[in-house]
């Protein structure tokens, strides 16, 4: 089957399950199958039907997407949306599908699909951690990678790195100018380097 036919099959099957057809987006494959288009096409479902659509994608025999490859969030501030993109794969049919939904950026909330694919558990925690999407019904929605008290969600485009976290600077001190440093270290007489007699250069370990 060509990618276009595969996508059409998936679309029809999901339409049957949801009662409304998901929209095709992205580099929609050319029905004639002529030139392979750059990039992937996807099926977009309304956020309210997300869990239903995911369950159908896993359970319908003609879909059978048993492997959740990745679940990613994409921040699109210019549109005021956060997209959630699931990359699915079916070992039975040897076929991939991109399923997508779009959320309000101001208060992104989505039904968790951790009950559909256990693999979604950590991906959703990451989604909450890095993009601030609240997953309804997630068994254990804690931050995954960052500390619990980290300010904000860094993969948002407008996130600003704080200057310090609990008193620890997040950046290395500004580079001293070559002149200042030259006085301290480099042009110091040879032997003040690292050899045992000379000890560390200035400012090294102190006394």
């Amino acid at each position: 089957m060509s990618p276009a036919e595969e996508l059409a099959t998936c679309q029809a099957a999901l339409a049957g399950a949801l009662g409304e057809a998901p929209t095709v987006g992205g580099a929609a494959p050319d029905p004639a199958g002529a030139a392979a288009p750059a990039g992937d096409a996807w099926l977009e479902v309304p956020a309210a039907r997300w869990r239903e659509a995911c369950r159908a994608a896993r359970d319908l025999p003609e879909l059978g997407f048993d492997f959740l490859r990745s679940l990613a969030g994409v921040d699109r501030p210019e549109a005021g949306r956060i997209d959630v993109v699931a990359h699915l794969f079916s070992y039975r049919h040897r076929r991939a599908l991109v399923l997508r939904t779009s959320l309000e950026r101001a208060a992104p909330e989505l039904d968790s699909v951790a009950q559909v694919w256990p693999a979604a558990d950590w991906h959703e925690r990451e989604l909450w951690d890095l993009l601030g999407v609240r997953l309804r019904g997630h068994p254990d929605l804690r931050r995954l990678l960052l500390p619990e008290d980290w300010p904000g969600h860094p993969l948002r485009k407008d996130w600003q790195e704080p200057a310090e976290y609990r008193g620890i600077p997040t950046r290395r001190e500004a580079r001293a100018t070559a002149g200042e440093l030259a006085k301290q270290t480099y042009l110091a007489p040879r032997g003040l380097g690292r050899d045992p007699a000379g000890g560390q250069p200035d400012g090294g370990g102190g006394a």
Partner: protein, 188 residues
């Protein structure tokens, strides 16, 4: 009874398979050792064993550098601080060329971007220090004129690493301990 028999069989298998493994281990007594005792007992310094493409610490040959800043632009993490100023009488001057080797990830993008080969990877790698700032290596002492893109005749290439060694303190300043002769302490 059956349990005891299988228990005894397991012990038997264990002894046999451990013997199997020990046979391999003992065979290493008869093979040449592969371990080398770094750094003191190497017969040849490691630096001479490195392949030609090895990407060690960076150095800049100011006799070649045109101050074009291609390296500065190519570096993904801003380790290169290059300042070129316009002087009323002397024209363009390279005022500063520092490389922060503490930040550098030795990716080689800067050397690939350089049109003259002025910035290059030496094979030096032993840059450990107690002060991270000591890894910012300045290559310009006083403002100097950049080189011309095409020089006739081209200046003689400097030995790899010599520029860097002159610019930062390092283990190269220490006298090397004499290498142990072969067959000294077992190195395997």
């Amino acid at each position: 009874m059956g349990a005891l028999a299988s228990y005894l069989r397991a012990i038997g298998r264990t002894v046999l398979s451990v013997g199997d493994g020990l046979a391999v281990t003992f065979s290493y007594l008869l093979r040449a050792p592969v371990t080398l005792q770094y750094p003191d007992r190497m017969r040849v310094p490691v630096i001479e064993l490195l392949p030609e493409r090895s990407r060690g610490m960076l150095e800049v040959d100011l006799d070649l550098c045109t101050g074009c800043a291609a390296c500065d632009r190519a570096c993904p993490i801003d380790c290169i601080a290059l300042e070129v100023v316009k002087h009323a009488e002397r024209g363009r001057l390279i005022q500063r060329f520092d490389i922060d080797l503490g930040k550098c990830m030795f990716c080689g993008l800067c050397t690939e971007a350089c049109p003259t080969g002025a910035i290059r990877h030496s094979h030096e790698f032993e840059g450990g220090t107690g002060d991270v700032r000591a890894l910012v290596v300045p290559f310009v002492d006083a403002p100097r004129q950049p080189a011309k893109a095409k020089q006739e005749p081209p200046p003689a290439p400097k030995p790899l690493g010599s520029i860097l060694r002159a610019r930062m303190p390092g283990p190269w300043d220490r006298p090397r301990p004499p290498a142990r002769p072969e067959g000294g302490e077992h190195a395997g």
